[in-house]
Symmetry: D2
Subunit: 281 residues, 4 copies
């Protein structure tokens, strides 16, 4: 099992948790721990080996309840290697969708892709190639509310726990952001916080930067300002056109997004305020 936990720091937390695990008959396979010295906050991810019975695991989860509360923690238990049921939202750009699906089917991403939803139909053939349902949900400029309700319903119906915005070119309404807080990952095609908003590669070209980037972050109602999970950069030269930047940026987007999705699906990310703790592997 994976235990992911954060709480106010106090002496003896590691010993307390390690004892609980030992007493419950578990063995710590891997423990990643971090104490924020400024916020005085404790973060931990523990990979626990435990007798493989549903009853045993359920008992551990139940027993932990009072300990968790007593230290004021937020926590989550999960089976490792459990695939994360995921919905991918797209518009027209194919590379991130293609990259996520290729990695998933190569066994590199522990996802169970429930559905691909698009406000355009362009990428339906890619979903079909992988035998995945593609759901076309158009969004009208004038009346976005009902459209996003349809998205939300489709996601809920699909059973998706994780929502990936793989170059989904729509600004999300606050309700939608709130509904999926901490489980919707977006890829922004700039090295945030530089070049927020539209056309970041064109902004980067105009500014004459020598390095461009991409940023994977959790979605919040504050556009392009959510907690950053990972970033990736590429060097640019004076001879690169805006089209070259778009091309070079695609690799950054695929790398940053796929890493962020993998960290999330492996329970390696803890959000705290507007920042993330990422226990990399």
């Amino acid at each position: 099992m994976i235990l992911k936990l954060s709480c106010p720091d106090r002496p003896g937390l590691v010993a307390t948790l390690a004892n609980f695990i030992a007493v419950s008959g578990g063995n710590i396979l891997e423990m990643s721990q971090f104490t924020d010295p400024i916020e005085k906050w404790f973060f931990i991810r523990v990979h626990i080996e435990i007798e493989d019975s549903e009853a045993k695991r359920r008992s551990v989860v139940d027993t932990f309840e009072s300990l968790g509360r007593s230290i004021g923690a937020e926590w989550e238990f999960r089976l490792p290697h459990e695939r994360t049921r995921t919905a991918i939202l797209v518009t027209k750009a194919a590379h991130c969708l293609q990259d996520l699906l290729a990695r998933t089917y190569a066994g590199d991403l522990p996802l169970d892709v429930a559905a691909v939803l698009g406000n355009r139909e362009d990428l339906a053939p890619i979903a079909e190639r992988y035998g995945l349902p593609f759901c076309h949900l158009p969004i009208e400029k004038e009346n976005k509310g009902p459209a996003f309700e349809r998205y939300q319903a489709a996601i809920e119906e699909s059973g998706a726990k994780l929502i990936v915005l793989a170059r989904f070119m729509q600004i999300l309404p606050p309700d939608f952001c709130a509904a999926f807080q901490g489980r919707a990952i977006n890829i922004h095609h700039s090295f945030l916080p530089a070049f927020v908003g539209a056309n970041p590669y064109r902004q980067a070209f105009k500014r004459g930067v020598k390095i461009i980037g991409a940023t994977a972050h959790y979605v919040t109602s504050d556009l392009d300002a959510g907690p950053i999970i990972d970033q990736e950069v590429a060097r640019v030269e004076h001879y690169h056109t805006p089209e070259d930047l778009i091309r070079l940026g695609r690799d950054c987007e695929c790398l940053a997004l796929s890493r962020a999705v993998r960290f999330h699906a492996d329970d390696r990310v803890i959000v705290h305020g507007n920042k993330t703790i990422v226990f990399r592997d």
Copy 2:
């Protein structure tokens, strides 16, 4: 000799220049050329091998005048391996000054350091270690004008052609910027245009970015907005404190600044509008 030239694009420019060089008895050792397809502008740097006499060189330079004018060019001739006379401005942070001096004396930077000027005295010992004059020119908050006039006078007296702001923590007045346009290089301790202004590492820490950087740019009166010459980045993790960011950033600052200074001193940079063409080596 090095010829650096930019002009509106038109057919036959390379042939025209190559012929001029051949007819003048020169041989092209290395030619770097770029045509901006959007601005329709032509940029070239040519390393010309020519008979080693002052008279010969003077004649080439004089003869070129009418050709250069006829194509509407801006250009510059220079001897390669001629060291660029340089003034370095500092405040308190030692690393960039130290790095520039170490590289210069290792033979990696073709500089002839004329003077080190500081608004504080902290770094005088470093200049002295290298046998360089250190000039302490304090700047009072209330009355910066006269101080900057003293800086300008000291720079002019030193014969410096290049001014390097090696973590000089002062906002420069517009007159000063104008006087040294295109030959004052600053290092900003962020990945511009992210985190302009003060305390960029603290801003980066607060925003929770996963990559930080540094930016070497030409000084303009528009703060932190001048043409970027080079940038460098470093990866950060959740466990890095603001102090760690400062430490990791120092390497970025030294690398970006020293490369920018070397490119400038090797006549590898052409400024066009607010962007740079950098013919790297």
Copy 3:
């Protein structure tokens, strides 16, 4: 048109070529030039804008013949944006094939994929997804000669000018290497020349390196020793298992191979001895 040329260095080469182009009614859009100061060898790539008629182009190519010979050059003319007809050889690992096809259909790689050939059938479905012919040509351990003759015949029949070994896990016989010299690109899954031969990631794991890599190179009969076109690296940590190295390495392989293929297909690579000149874009 693109002219790619190399020859012994001598004074006036740029002027000679630029004049030829001007006299032929062409205009130089972009010129990349390099003179090897040790070997005294001259390399150039010129993008020439010329009247768009087949007759005109043919005349330029024919006329250049005597000039090219007189300077002892090897050269090649080609239309830009002409797609390079390509055969991709694979075995079992899908990522490089998938990456090359995704980039090609996204418009990032100027390839016209003629066929996918495999000594196993595993990747047939991927070729089929893209509507490409997959040709299964098994190779028996005991008797490789006839199998490679079938490969050669299939490649020639397909009209492929470029052969890409996208994790094709077979040692090529010398005849085969000779037949496709300078136009067969292989990806080796290590940072050559470290870890030549089999299982490089396992070798890297055992050696405890902190950075792994991948190398795209032209195939020669000397295994893993052909001219290197590009390399890519990734950082590894002590907690990475051999399987993690394989996963991290896949990204390196895709990036290095796709760049090398693009440089080749854009006529940006000149082989000289066992090294490459790569005029990057």
Copy 4:
């Protein structure tokens, strides 16, 4: 205090150690742990906050003895922020020495440099600039044994616990390597295991690699084959001469060496077999 420990893996190790610390009145500020799943070996580094009295600390260290033995561990206790007494060995190349001293005096490296030893006198002025004793110990080709005995004596006399070979161009005799096993760090100017032995940059130039590197490793009697602590790389292009590679490589050497020295001095490195576990910060 810092506790660094490795031992065969078994269930409950984290709990056992965490309890010991809690019972001793300590608090875990930071714990980094790794279990090698192949070798079944357990590695941990714990930063313990404890009452600041010498007696208290001594008692913890003494009490731990029987626990440590019972789990078959190798371990080390140390005060954090204790500066590591260090001897730096040099020959002629200045950059690594200069970089280490600059970082030390900027407060980035927790070293207490006891002496600089050189088989040539070239770098004496640099040591002197920092007020450090420089000891010139020449080494004759024919008779190296006595010279290395003088080195060993000088190092022991200086009280140095860490030996840094900052481009010390001498092959060390096996006795010397044995005497300083696990506490002598060398910088090799190549991306090991590529280009072992002499003139690695020239070897890299001849092979035509597109990336060069540097490797910081513990010294063993097996030349260039000791446990790697860190590596750094730089991209090279066809126009880079062997001299350019040397220049670009210097930055790699300084970065890899200074990081390795910092990790060692912060007790972040555990050697296991021929590999290192590095708990980065």
